[in-house]
Assembly symmetry: C2
Homo-oligomer: 342 residues x 2
């Protein structure tokens, strides 16, 4: 993916605010694609590191975002509200804003309060790595990732369309359109509760009297099951707290399934235990062998876009994603992939 952009995205000027693992990876990819892109991070050492990697990293956020067509907000979740407020005045009304945070309802609400709904598109690329920071970032990290974007009616739809096309071209992203609320519910189970389980497993091992032996025997299941417990603790805490109610609700569902497994084990009931594991395996089988069918859909280019947004959100809730978005004079054309039933 070192090819440049042609057509509608050639000459796009971009900025990335917060150049850690995700922001740094966005920045590296945008630079690889030949875009005029600047990165800014509050940490001077990170800016220095960015320069050492050949990236433009001005000293102030104003310099980084001035005159840009799009700004990616990639700092820690608790900083997003403040950064959005800054960008509201520092960027032009035509500049598209998006973020990469792990929860979407809060930031969407803040954008609404700041009057940014028309040009802020809440986003969340589903990717990560074991090590944090710009030093672990890479232009390839986000390639082909599922990337949630939250569409909204009215002028916001224009920003959504434009950003969808950009992410598909730059990252070969599978853009999953969802309401902020649906994202947060699904992410609670797809990402946040797994972090809780990994923390509990690693934490119990740390406290175990046979800790050294447990670590000596740790192979696939323990290593896999604790991997995301390596994430910086504050980052995990922010993510969980930003989606508190939904995470606790989904944890209750997982606990209920776990209680059922434990009850079958306590009862010494192989049939009940096997039946529940067959149920669990079904999710894994679907995950490993998802099959899709293509679907093209068109909507009027202008108007309130209510039907368009309803279709987009329904696509994401059905497990589908966008693989393209072309805006013509009269119509907008989406290419989508929809999962086939099992």
């Amino acid at each position: 993916m070192t090819d440049g952009l042609t057509g509608r995205y050639a000459g796009v000027r971009a900025a990335v605010v917060g150049t850690g693992l995700i922001g740094g990876s966005v920045l590296l990819r945008l630079a690889d694609a030949g875009l005029d892109v600047a990165g800014w991070d509050p940490d001077p050492a990170t800016r220095e590191l960015a320069r050492a990697r050949g990236l433009a990293a001005p000293a102030t956020i104003e310099q980084a975002v001035a005159g840009r067509d799009v700004v990616f907000l990639c700092g820690p979740l608790p900083t997003l509200a403040g950064t959005l407020a800054q960008l509201a005045t520092m960027t032009a009304p035509g500049c598209v804003l998006t973020d990469v945070g792990g929860t979407k309802s809060e930031v969407a609400q803040v954008a609404d309060q700041l009057g940014l709904t028309d040009r802020f598109v809440p986003g969340h690329p589903m990717a990560g790595a074991e090590s944090p920071g710009l030093s672990a970032a890479s232009a390839a990290l986000l390639a082909g990732a599922a990337w949630v974007l939250c569409p909204a009616p009215g002028p916001a739809t224009d920003a959504f369309r434009w950003l969808t096309g950009l992410l598909v071209e730059l990252f070969e992203a599978r853009v999953v359109p969802l309401s902020a609320s649906a994202h947060d519910s699904a992410a609670a189970l797809a990402s946040h509760v797994p972090h809780l389980l990994a923390g509990a497993l690693a934490g119990a091992a740390q406290r175990a009297s046979l800790r050294e032996t447990v670590l000596a025997l740790a192979a696939g299941s323990f290593r896999d099951g604790t991997r995301v417990a390596s994430t910086p603790a504050k980052q995990v805490a922010n993510m969980l707290l930003g989606n508190q109610a939904r995470v606790l609700a989904e944890l209750t569902e997982v606990q209920e399934f776990l209680d059922g497994l434990a009850a079958a084990l306590r009862a010494g009931d192989p049939a009940a235990l096997t039946a529940r594991y067959e149920e669990a395996r079904a999710a894994r089988s679907t995950l490993l062998d998802r099959r899709f069918t293509g679907r093209d859909q068109q909507f009027p280019a202008d108007g309130e876009h209510t039907a368009e947004v309803t279709w987009l959100r329904g696509l994401g809730e059905a497990g589908g994603h966008l693989t393209g978005c072309q805006v013509g004079a009269d119509t907008v054309s989406y290419s989508a992939s929809l999962p086939l039933a099992d």
Copy 2:
């Protein structure tokens, strides 16, 4: 690892009973090393597949194990007692027997009842793969694995020493010496509870109303956290039931840590949440950066070996492992690796 064996293990005749993923991988490695090895599986199609891969796979278990120096028992856990009883009469008194099952106390007790303690060495290589069966087996699967062996005093120590040397030479195994009881306690947390958590996460996703969206967003944390839920359901059920009390006890410890995380989240307490995640991260950091120091230890070659067995079990409980075992006329010499304190 396609080099043959020289010295004391040249000319060893081996058999593998049960040639699925683990047994098949043992068989392939033994064959690669140039040993005279036969595999047997109750499933005719599996025997056929073994032959197609160029392996000796006679029609009966008698033919496979006759005249062998060592037999690896690799069938499902519930079959081990029956197979051990068969092998007690089918093999010579000098033939070393070992198994690869995920729990050790039960099978050790069965061997004791069958009068096989002197030549049966309970074993458990810590390795696996997502797909089951001989078709997924490979000579490299067990290379460098942590491989638990359970030493016992008296003549049993001879069998333990001989097998330790063989596993180190053949698999570059890190042989972890443990009592059956210590193995089962540590494995409950290192392997069995992770299977419960993975099952609960995958099971809850399967039941979720947003199932399709959850699977669409599934990235690192969900994929890693559910990976072992792909294991055949019966195999997981057997493993858990074979270590029932210890698994339930360790699950309680994990639940307690999880309850603490959930309470901090419910209270909206970032400090408490971060502190617990720091604790969890410490286990991960140790796991990813285990440092060892070498230690050589000698014992009299003959006698009751009580001090030797005590030292061996202590090594395993301290998180150490053996990297060699040489038996001389008067002394036995172990090379060991011990973890350095954090």
